[in-house]
Amino acid sequence: MPQNTQSNVTQLRSESNAKPPALAWKDLRVAPPGASRPVLRDVSGEIGHGQWVTFVGPNGAGKTTFFRALVGLAPFQGEIWVHGEPWQTARWRVQMAFQPPAASFVGQTVLEELAISIAARAAHVGEAAPDGPSLDAEVRRWMHLVGLSTALQRPVDQLSGGEMAKLAVAGALASGADVLLLDETQAELDPDARAAMREVLRGLARAGRTVLLVTHDMDDVLASDAVVVVKDGHMSAPMSPRAFFYADGGLPPCDHLGFAPPYLVQVARRVQRALAIEFSPLSEQEFVEGWQRVAASQILDARAQRGNSSIESFV
C-alpha cells in the first residue's frame, strides 16, 4: 500500500519557508540488485535544512537501499530533489560515509584522503582544484569541523575507529556534501567515539547541513532532531524523539519496534506515569532539571500528605 507522507517536517527550528527542503523524494521505488520485488514502494517525503534525522527499523526494511539510491549505487524510479534541484544535477551534494571507513579510503594518509575528496568536488562542480597553501587551509578546516586532531601525515590505517569515522565524515563533507548519509557508522565504535560523533553531527546540523543516520543505538535517536521509522518498505513521517520514546497512551513507537529505550527514558516513563505529568526528558540535563522542578513544585509533598507515601503505590 503506497505511503504518501508529503508532510511538512517537524521543524524544530524556525526556517524560512522560501527555502526548498534539503532532500525531497516522491513516489520512490527502489529494488536492490538481484531482488525481484522493490524494497521501497512509492515512498514520498522530505527533510528540511539543518536537521539530523535518524532512520530506524528492522534489518532488510529498506534503509540501506534508500541510502544507496540517494548516493547513486542503486537505480530507482521516482523523483528526488536535492535543495530544490533535480537529483541528476545535484547528486554531488549528497555524500555517504561508508562502513567500514578503512575500505573507502583511497589515499594513504589523512592529508591525501582529504585532498582527493576536495579534488573530486572541484572536478564535479567544474572549478579548479585548490593548490598549495589554500589546499592545506581547506584540509585543516574540514578536520577542525569534525574534531579530528591527528597529524596530517598519519597513515589512515593507523587511525582509531573513532578517528576513521570522523575522517570518513570529513571526506564526505569535503566532497561537497550538504546532505550527509551515514549507514550504521556508529555500530563498531566504543561509547566515547559514539558520543564524540554525536557532537559532530549536532554541530553539522546546527550549521545548516542535513544529516541522515541509520542506527540501532537508541542514544543516537535520543540526540537527534527527528526519527523516521522504516518498516516493510514504508517510511513514516519524521517524528520528534519525544514522540518516539514517550506516548500519551498506548505503546510508544520505540517499544512497538522492539527496541529497548535508554535507561533515562525508562526511569522517566515511570515517573511520568506515577505523577501523571508531562515529563519527557531527552538528556540527563533535562531529566535533572525536570525532576528539580517536580521537587520544587511540591507535588511530592502533596502526595505524601495525601497518604501516598509508600513507595509501592508509585510504580
Binding site: S104, V106, H124, S149, G203, A274, W291, S309
Partner: protein, 523 residues
C-alpha cells in the same frame, strides 16, 4: 571495562594464553581431580573465527567430533545453543558466512558455549548487535555462570551486563583502578570518571541526580530509581553524598574535557606546510630510469661473473635507496624457495618408468642456478621501483607519465587502480595475519595446539575466510569508488613532494651506470 586502548583486549589475550606477559604470570588453579583449566576465548569481531564452511563442520571442529556425529547429535547438543541465541532455524548444511555480521557473531558464541571450558573469556560480546541479541548473549553468559563457569568479559555497553555481573574490574591507562561489586562501582562512578574510566548511562544519571540533591548514587534498576525519586523529600538522604572510591589513586585527577569540536587548531599545526611534506629521497624519474636500465642489463647475463656483478650492483642500489630490510629478506626467502625447487627439478632424473635409473645431474642444476640468480635481482629491483610511494603519489605520477600517450579515461582508470593496489596491499597483509590469529584462537578453544602439520592440512580454513573478508572489503571499496566517481577525477598532484634532482640522485644513477658497464664487460 575501560576506555579503548586502556588494555582490556591485551589483558584478555594474556589471560587466554595467547600473549605472554613480559612481567608477572597468569596462574590457573584447576579444580580437584583435573590437571588443567580449559579456557574458551572469543575475541573481538568473533566472525573472523569462522572457517567459511557449513554449520555442521564448524561445530565439528569446536566439539572435536566428526561431521556425522555432529549431525546425529544436532537436535540435542547443537540446536538448544542455537535457539538460545535466536538461530534455531539454522540447518547443519547452512553456511554461517552467508549470515549478517550480527548473526555470525551469535553463531560463534553458540559454538563457544556448546562445550565451553571452565573459563570463558569474551571481548566485547555485545558490540554490533541489536538490543534483543545483546540480551540473548548476556542471558547465555549468565546461564553459563550459573552452571558453574567463570566468565570474564570486556564490555563497553555496561548497562546490559552490570545487573548480571558479580564483580567489576576497571582499567584506566593500563592500571587496575577499581575492583569490586557492581553496586560499589556505580556508587563510586563519579570518582572513577575523573580517572578516565567510562561510566554507563545508569550511573551517569544517578550521579547527575545525586549532585542535584537527589538520592545517593548506586546501581538501580529503572523501577528502583523511579521509586527513590518519587519518595517524599523527608525520607530521602540529604544533600549530595561524598562517595568513597574503593581504590586509592595516587595521581592527580586529569580532566578529560569535552570533544575537541570546539578546540581551535593549535598554533604548532599552522606551521609552514612544506615542513610537513615528506622529504623525498630520490627523484622518481631518475630512479625508475636507472632501475629499468639495470634490469635490462641484467637480462643479458648468463655467466657466473655476470651473476656476481648483478647481485653486487643490486645490493648496492638497495643500500643506496634505503630499502627496508624486512621486505628484502622476505623477497629473498621467496626467491630461495623457488630457486631450490627449480634446481632440484632440473637436476633430478627420476627412475622408472621415466628413465633407466635415479640420478642427480649437478651440472644441469648449476646451470639452472645461474639462470635463476638474476630473478633475485629482478624481485629486489621491483621492490625498489614501487617502494615508498603512497597511493596518491603513485596515481599522480602514473597520470603524469601517461598524459601524452594514453586517452583520458584509460589513464585515469590506470592511475586510480594503481592507487588502490598500493593502498590496500598492506591492509591485505594485516587481514591475512589477523586470520591466522583467529585460527590459533579457534584451535585453542577446541583444545588443540597449533602445529605446522595441522596448519598445512587446515590452510583452507584460513584462506577461505580470508578471501571472503577481502571480497566483502572490496565490495565496500567498489561502492565508495563508484559513489565518489573517482574514475572521472584527475589525481591531484598538488601534494606531491617537491622532488628535485640532488647529489644523491646523481650518485645513485652513476652507481647504476657503473653496474651496467660492468655487466656489459663481463659479457
Amino acid at each position: 571495562m575501560g576506555r579503548n586502548g586502556a588494555g582490556k583486549s591485551t589483558l584478555l589475550d594474556a589471560l587466554a594464553g595467547l600473549a605472554a606477559p613480559s612481567e608477572g604470570e597468569v596462574t590457573y588453579h584447576p579444580p580437584a581431580g583435573r590437571t588443567e583449566v580449559r579456557r574458551t576465548y572469543v575475541p573481538q569481531s568473533p566472525e573472523r573465527l569462522l572457517f567459511a564452511t557449513q554449520a555442521a563442520e564448524e561445530f565439528a571442529t569446536s566439539l572435536r567430533l566428526s561431521r556425522s556425529d555432529v549431525r546425529q547429535r544436532w537436535e540435542e547438543e547443537v540446536r538448544p545453543r542455537l535457539e538460545a541465541l535466536g538461530l534455531g532455524h539454522l540447518q547443519p548444511d547452512d553456511l554461517p558466512s552467508r549470515l549478517s555480521t550480527g548473526m555470525q557473531r551469535k553463531f560463534v558464541y553458540a559454538m563457544a558455549l556448546a562445550r565451553p571450558g571452565e573459563v570463558l573469556l569474551c571481548d566485547e560480546p555485545t558490540s554490533g548487535l541489536d538490543a534483543a541479541s545483546r540480551a540473548e548473549i548476556i542471558a547465555e553468559i549468565a546461564r553459563y555462570v550459573q552452571e558453574g563457569g567463570l566468565a570474564i568479559t570486556a564490555l563497553h555497553d555496561l548497562d546490559d551486563a552490570l545487573f548480571a555481573a558479580t564483580r567489576v574490574l576497571a582499567i584506566g591507562d593500563g592500571r587496575l583502578v577499581f575492583d569490586g561489586p557492581p553496586q560499589a562501582f556505580s556508587a563510586s562512578a563519579g570518582e572513577l570518571e575523573r580517572q578516565g574510566v567510562p561510566i554507563p548511562p545508569s550511573a551517569r544519571l544517578a550521579w547527575a541526580l545525586a549532585r542535584a540533591g537527589g538520592p545517593k548514587p548506586g546501581l538501580y534498576a529503572p523501577d528502583e530509581l523511579a521509586a527513590r525519586l518519587l519518595a517524599p523529600p523527608v525520607s530521602r538522604e540529604d544533600g549530595p553524598p561524598v562517595a568513597e572510591p574503593l581504590w586509592e589513586s595516587g595521581r592527580t585527577s586529569a580532566d578529560r574535557g569535552a570533544a575537541p569540536v570546539s578546540a581551535a587548531p593549535s598554533a604548532g599545526e599552522a606551521g609552514p606546510p612544506s615542513a610537513e611534506r615528506e622529504r623525498s629521497a630520490f627523484h622518481p624519474a631518475l630512479r625508475w630510469l636507472s632501475i629499468t636500465a639495470m634490469a635490462i642489463a641484467i637480462a643479458f647475463v648468463h655467466r657466473s661473473a655476470g651473476d656476481l656483478v648483478a647481485v653486487l650492483a643490486t645490493a648496492a642500489l638497495l643500500v643506496a635507496l634505503s630499502a627496508p630490510l624486512r621486505t628484502t629478506l622476505r623477497l629473498t626467502w621467496t626467491w630461495a624457495s623457488f630457486a631450490i625447487l627449480a634446481c632440484a627439478v632440473s637436476g633430478l632424473q627420476l627412475g622408472p618408468p621415466f628413465h633407466a635409473q635415479w640420478a642427480f645431474h649437478f651440472g644441469a642444476a648449476k646451470r639452472t642456478w645461474f639462470e635463476v640468480v638474476p630473478y633475485w635481482c629482478y624481485l629486489q629491483l621491483g621492490q625498489l621501483a614501487l617502494a615508498r610511494f603512497s597511493s596518491l603519489q603513485l596515481a599522480a605520477l602514473t597520470d603524469q607519465a601517461l598524459r601524452r600517450a594514453v586517452p583520458r579515461r584509460q589513464r585515469l582508470v590506470a592511475s586510480w587502480f594503481g592507487a588502490l593496489v598500493t593502498r590496500f596491499i598492506p591492509a591485505v597483509e594485516v587481514m591475512y595475519r589477523e586470520q591466522w590469529y583467529a585460527y590459533r584462537v579457534r584451535l585453542q578453544n577446541a583444545g588443540r595446539a597449533l602445529s605446522t602439520s595441522r596448519a598445512l592440512v587446515d590452510v583452507a580454513n584460513v584462506i577461505a575466510p580470508f578471501v571472503i573478508r577481502m571480497l566483502r572489503f572490496g565490495e565496500t571499496t567498489a561502492d565508495a569508488m563508484e559513489a565518489r566517481r573517482l574514475f572521472e577525477v584527475t589525481p591531484p598532484s598538488a601534494i606531491l613532494p617537491p622532488w628535485r634532482v640532488s647529489g644523491r640522485d646523481i650518485a645513485a644513477t652513476a652507481m647504476a651506470l657503473v653496474g651496467i658497464a660492468l655487466l656489459i664487460w663481463t659479457r
